[in-house]
C-alpha cells in the first residue's frame, strides 16, 4: 500500500502484536475443507 512512513509505522505498531499473538494459532490450524464449524459449535444444544 502506498502510505506515508509514519502511517506504515503506526499500522505495524497496531497490527503487529495481533499478528504475533495469532501466529502460533495460524500455524496449527488443521487442513479442513469444511472448516466453518463455528455455527455448529455455537448452536449446539444448551445443556443444563
Amino acid at each position: 500500500l502506498p502510505v506515508d512512513a509514519d502511517v506504515a509505522a503506526r499500522i505495524a505498531h497496531s497490527i503487529g502484536p495481533a499478528y504475533e499473538g495469532f501466529a502460533s494459532v495460524a500455524g496449527t490450524l488443521p487442513f479442513d475443507l469444511e472448516p466453518a464449524n463455528f455455527r455448529l459449535v455455537q448452536t449446539a444444544k444448551v445443556s443444563k
Binding site: L1, V3, V7, A9, R10, I11, H13, S14, I15, P17, A18, Y19, E20, G21, F22, S24, V25, A26, L29, P30, D32, P35, A36, N37, F38, L40, V41, Q42, T43, A44, V46, S47
Partner: protein, 470 residues
Amino acid sequence: MSTEPALMSLTAVAQAITQKKLSSREVTKSCLDRVALWQPRLNAFMAIEADAALKAADAADAALAKGKLAGVLHGVPLAHKDMYYDEGHVVTCGSKIRKDFVATTTATALQRLKDAGTVRLGSLQMVEFAYGPTGHNPHYGAVRNPWNVDYITGGSSSGSGSAVGARLTFAALGSDTGGSIRMPAHFCGVTGFKTTVGLISRAGAMPLSQSLDTVGPLAQTVEDCALLVGLMAGADPEDPTTSSRPVPDYMAAAKASMKGTRIGVPTAFYVDDLDPEVARVLDETIAVLRKEGAEIVKVELPDQRQLTAACQIVLATEAAAFHKRWMIERPQDYGAQVLMRLQNGLAIPAVTYLEAMRWRGPALAAYLAAVAGTDAVIAPVAPMPAVTIAESDVGNSLNAEAVIQRITKFTRPINYLGLPSLSIPAGFTGTGLPVGMQLVGRAFDEAGLVRIGAAFQRATDYHQRVPKAA
C-alpha cells in the same frame, strides 16, 4: 415508589403506566427534567426531542384512557445509541460523515420496542462509527461519566452508559462488537447485556463487523435487560443471521434463585494484572455468589490472548471493508483515531483474516470444553475502573492501539467466541467510581445469566445507587 419517576426501574415504571398509577406525560416530563439538568454536564444526548416526546406521551395516555394498550412498554420514554435506524430521523452514527443522514427504514430491534409502546426521547451520543472503547468523539465531544465528569464513560455506547447511569432514560440500546455495551456499563455503574451473535436482529443497525456485532440493552437492572431482550430477540427475515430458536421467558429466569448453579472463576488472564480495587470487587462478588447458593469452581481456560489477537484481526478487517468507499472519498471527515484504525484493517491479508475466522469453531469448542459443567464464568469487565478523559485521549498516537487493547482485553475474547455476557454493577472504588463484573455464559443461554445476575442484584444494592448532580 420514588417521588421522581425517572429514578424508577424500567420494569417498575412500565407497570406504573399500565396500571395508570403514573401517566406517560408525568414520566416523560420527569426524564426531560433530568436531561435538562444533566445534559450540559454529560453530553450524553445527540438529540433531545422534548416537544415530540411529550406529544407522543400524551397520545399514549389518550390511547390508554380508551383501553388501547400498545404493549408492555406502553408510554415508556427511551433514547438509544444513535446508530439504530429510525425512519424519518437523523442517525449520525457519531460521525461527521452521517451527520445529516435521514433513515428511511427502522431497525428491527428498535421497531420491536416501538411496537411494545415506547416513546422516543431523542438519540444518544456514541463513539464515531462505534469504533473506540473510551467515549471520546472528535466531532461531538467526549461523553462524561455521571459519577465524575472528568472520567470516561467507556465506549462505544458512551451516551447509553452515561444517560442510563444518570437516570435520563430508563434503558438504552447499545451495541457490542469488542465490549461496547459492557464497558460503558462497567464504567457508569449500570447493567449491560451483550447477547449471543444471532439472538437479536441487526437489520437497520449500523454495521461495524458482521461477524462480531451484537445488539443489546443497558438498563438499571438485570430484570430490565431481560424484559428488553425478550422483546427484541427472535428470528427476523431482514437479518438471515438471526436464530429461529424459540425465545425463552427471560423474565421468569429473573425471578429464580441462583441456588445450585455452578460459576467458574478463571485461574489466569481475567485475574491477572488487576487494579487492586477491581481485584477486591471480584473477590467480594465471588463471596456474594457463594452466599447466594452458587457453587464456585476454578476453570482453566485456553489462552485468551490468542482470542484477543484473532478478534482484532477480524474486527479491523471487516470494519475496513465496510468503510472502504468513505476512506477513499472522505478521509478528511473521519476522526484521526478511527481513520487510523480503519487503515490498520487494510494491511491485513485475506488469508490471515480467513484463518482468524476459521479458528472460531475450534476456539469455541475448546472454551466450552474448559467451562463444561458450569452455568457461567465470572470475570472483571476491564482490569481497571474508569480513567480520566484527559489521560486516555490518545488520538492516533503510536501507543493508541496499545491503550485500546488494554481497556478491551477482557471483553474482546467473548466477542470472538460469540458468547453472551452480562455486565452487572458489583461495587465502587474508594473514590466513588463504579466497578462492574461480567458473567459469561453459553451461546443462547441468556436465561442462565439472567437467573444469576438478577439473584445477585436482589442481594446487593450497587445497581440502585444514583449519582448526584453537583
